[in-house]
Amino acid sequence: MKLFKKTLILFVVCFISDIIAYFLPFPFPGSVLAMIITFLLLLSGLVKVRQIEPVSDFLVKNMAFVFLPSTVSIVSYLDVFQSILWQFLLICIVTTFITFVCTAYSVKLTVYLINKRKEKTENA
């Protein structure tokens, strides 16, 4: 009964999110909207973590299971993969590297500037 209620809360949020996404003037994934709405519900206290907890943890922990069907359907796209294999791998590796470096340095700079500002106000 309890698990029933916890699952119901998450499912209803997903359904409402899909309805909102349908009426949005731009395309937006309903599942992401469901994540935002759940976060706001928790933040506002309307839903408590304990009201969805074991179900939500189970879903997050086994997230990979949900992707099993789409992963299996890779077999229908083997010819596409064969035609772009080296470009595919190159793009995946190079862009991961670029993203890592850009993020790391921008955060490093931000933290440095925050600390410098703190020092300035402390000295003043």
Partner: protein
């Protein structure tokens, strides 16, 4: 006989059965390469091939599994909520890191795809490749990409990132744990986060935050693509 595999129970049970085996093998080997989902996918592909079962028949039951994607994504909000104090304390570096991370990922992918003359649907499949699978698959669908290609790209990115990130931290002298945590989360999502947790507690937490937030920022960027 083959008609019976159109029963939804066939696809659903096959998913559960092979995933359980995947987890068992993963627990025995404890290697990142022995990913339970990949093992399960290989088992299913083998079963379908050996018994000559059409993919469509399997999908009738498997679609019920895929239905849980939305509630699982919603559940990610709980982990974000648990880290809310850390987010509040470091909000500026987190916002800067996630925005820069998402923008640099999307721009570098689009530019490189153009440079390598990739067709439109491949570019659309690769754009979400640095974010968490839950959001990436939906975003790929929305942009007109091929979801299985996106999943493969997300996986390759995650495995490469998880292996290389400790070396990248040393190579670029990232001495700040907040910076390395956010960089790992922004560039190689949950697979990278599993490595970040090994590196340190702050790194792991910040990496987890970046996974959710970068996914969100990328979705907003995609509205303008």
């Amino acid at each position: 006989m083959l008609e019976l595999t159109k029963e939804p129970f066939f696809g659903f049970s096959l998913c559960m059965f092979s995933y359980i085996i995947g987890i068992k093998i993963n627990q025995k080997t404890k290697s990142a390469l022995a990913n339970p989902m990949i093992i399960a996918a290989i088992i299913i592909i083998a079963v379908l091939a050996v018994f000559k079962i059409p993919l469509e028949n399997f999908m009738i039951g498997a679609d019920f599994v895929a239905m849980f994607l939305a509630p699982a994504t919603a559940a990610l909000a709980v982990s974000m909520y648990r880290q809310f104090d850390v987010i509040k304390k470091n909000w500026l570096p987190i916002v800067v890191g996630c925005v820069v991370g998402a923008v640099s990922a999307v721009v570098s992918i689009v530019v490189l795809c153009k440079f390598l003359n990739m067709p439109q649907d491949i570019t659309a499949s690769l754009v979400p490749k640095s974010i968490t699978t839950a959001i990436a698959s939906k975003l790929s669908e929305q942009l007109g990409g091929i979801v299985p290609i996106t999943l493969a790209a997300v996986l390759v990115t995650g495995i490469f990132g998880a292996i290389s990130s400790p070396y990248l931290i040393k190579l670029f002298k990232i001495d700040n744990p907040i910076a390395s945590g956010l960089a790992i989360g922004a560039s190689c999502h949950a697979l990278g986060t599993s490595k970040a947790i090994e590196i340190g507690e702050i790194e792991g937490t910040l990496s987890g935050i970046a996974v959710g937030l970068c996914g969100l920022v990328t979705v907003f960027i995609a509205i303008f693509l």
